[in-house]
Amino acid sequence: MIEINNVSKQYGAFHVLTDCSTKVAKGEVVVVCGPSGSGKSTLIKTINGLEPINKGDIRVNGTSVCSPKTNLSQLRSKVGMVFQNFELFPHLSIIENLTIAQIKVLGRKRNEADDKGRTYLDRVGLKEQAAKYPAQLSGGQQQRAAIARALCMDPICMLFDEPTSALDPEMVNEVLDVMVQLAREGTTMMCVTHEMGFARKVADRVIFMDAGRIIEDTSKAEFFGNIEARTDRAKQFLSRILQH
Amino acid sequence: MFKNYSWDWGVFLQPVSTGEPTNYLGWLLAGFYNTVVLALSASLIAFAVGVVMGVLRTTPNRWLAALGTTYVGIFRNIPVIVQLFAWYFVLPELLPTSMGTWFKQLPASTQMMTSAVLCLGLYMGARVCELIRSGIETLPKGQRSAALALGLTLPQAYRYVLLPVAFRVAIPPLTSEMINVFKNSAVASTIGLLELSAQAQQLVDYTAHPYESFAAATAVYISINVIVVLIMRQVEVSVHLPGYIGGKS
């Protein structure tokens, strides 16, 4: 579904990503972890072309992201993305947030978009909040709405960029629950996150990144179960993060 | 638009048809000179008045603050051309008869220049006042307290602690105001002062080449803009406080 081949990116002299390669198969859930500045957010943003790359190739469902012939708008409408800061549109109500891209990008009729929006709002537990504005919702509610917004586009895969990092601890679980549910339904997901509990529950594979490179790319069982076989850098990271 | 128009840039070097011993370029330069004198004189008044009023607006004394607020309220809410006419036509009438007569007997150009300088000075002063006020208000509140706690009187606190930093913060908007006063100087043409835009109009009337005249005047205004920006940038660099970006701590 997603293929990342030898991707490199630099800002001037600073190498953000160096020779990263991995694949995500349909229905797989891949968690990307690593210290700050390791390039994991950048990597995930290259998948839908929000971050351009200098070298390498990225394919989503066979379509090359970097090729000038690709209609990026269409591609992005099929790849769902959830941001750390939710990024709901503050001047639109929740239901309008969910329908605007359906109408303007996918060309759906208003009532069709509206129905779909309400269905997904119900699925994430926000049916009552449809007419409210983002500022009136809690962080957890906003992020769930953001997930619903991405789902309304009927994406072929979902990308999550640290979806719970900006949330108060009490609200992290309500968002994780939605994500777990999605994973169990067979959604192809790639998540940048620090939530190792989530990884242990539903991830198929774990990728560990450091300083712009993919250091580890193994199955969940291997990553958490066989710590001895891991690289030193990964061991260091795991020992710190698993203490929580 | 320019189909039937014959451009002639040499028109500037032609001697003027009024018999004065100068050419049209000379007229433009005379206008430029008046513009510069007007703008710089007005700036001096504006800084003096503006700083005082800006300080007054930030003092704890209600009456002094109200004085500053009234000043700004009047001079920022009346169009500059109306203010200018008030200085030139109204003030001489409202002065005591002896002063009024004395003023009206001055050479016309002096009357015009004086009115224009006072008008632009106080007009710009109101804007400078607001800049200084903002500059002082962006300083952390503790600055004033710390100064007073050391035993400095309030005037001393302003002079040694608050104003020095407020000025630095205010340099970028002050640059805009300097540019504005040069532009606003054009309004003096309406009372007959022969500054740059008035001379450009003169050229249009005396030669048949309006486009060249206006183009030249426009070029001069743009150059003034560039020079002011460069000078103010130098000022900003020379008074820069290391590690203190724009007044925010």
């Binding site: 503050p90 | 009346i78 109306v82 409202l94 835009s197 205004y221």
Partner: protein, 230 residues
């Protein structure tokens, strides 16, 4: 005594003064509307990654902010009749002053509005554009539906304040002889000889209108419902 004379003078001249005020307001309204539209376009051009657009917008704004408004009015008063002649082939018989003033003010104010709007656009978090892009919206659609609405809403006080400045600036049409409120007042002063009173009267009117308008803007600012997220 003076006050009673003044009052009767004004009442007699009310029609011309009112007509003048209408002209002032007409110019203000047209210039605000066209200024904001063209200013928004310029702001987007300025921020675009297509160099020619960015350079054009930058140059336009820099040029119009360097020249006095009086010169811009004179330029357009000079050029508009020629332009109309060349574009429509008709020699303008009607008074072209109002049209040239409206064109001049719109183009001039757009430069100032574009700077306000540009600051507003840059204040909208970049994540909003990313989120819109991630949903598949191309740049211009995202700009139009997501970024500009937020930018405009946030800059409404600044836009309105600029409108008040514009209203005061309309008095400069004096130099092209257009009968706005101030020119009308001055014409009456010249005709009736009560220059002092008329100038003070005109000044007071502008003062009151501007103060009320500013108070209105501040009131709007406090009652605004738009609240920032996050």
């Amino acid at each position: 005594m003076i006050a009673i004379d003044l009052l009767s003078d004004i009442t007699n001249s009310l029609p011309s003064l009112a007509a003048g005020m209408v002209t002032s307001l007409k110019i203000t309204a047209i210039a605000v509307v066209f200024g904001i539209v063209w200013g928004a376009i310029l702001a987007v051009m300025r921020l675009s990654s297509f160099r020619p657009f960015a350079l054009f917008a930058q140059g336009y704004v820099m040029l119009l902010r360097s020249i006095p408004l009086i010169m811009v009015l004179l330029w357009f008063f000079l050029m508009v009749p020629q332009l109309i002649q060349n574009l429509f082939g008709v020699s303008p018989r009607t008074d072209i002053r109002l049209v040239s003033a409206m064109v001049a003010f719109s183009l001039f104010e757009a430069a100032y509005y574009s700077e306000i709007i540009r600051a507003g656009i840059q204040a909208v978090s970049r994540g909003q554009m990313s989120a819109a892009n991630a949903l598949g919206m191309p740049y211009l659609m995202a700009m139009r539906l997501i970024v500009l609405p937020q930018a405009l809403r946030a800059t409404v006080p600044a836009l309105l304040t600029q409108g008040i400045v514009l209203f005061q600036d309309t008095s400069l049409v004096y130099v092209i002889g257009l009968a706005d409120f101030f020119r009308s007042a001055k014409n009456i002063a010249d005709r009736d000889g009560n220059t002092v009173e008329m100038i003070l009267f005109a000044g007071s009117v502008y003062l009151i209108i501007s103060l009320l308008a500013s108070a209105g803007v501040q009131f709007l600012q406090r009652g605004g419902r738009y609240v920032k997220v996050g």
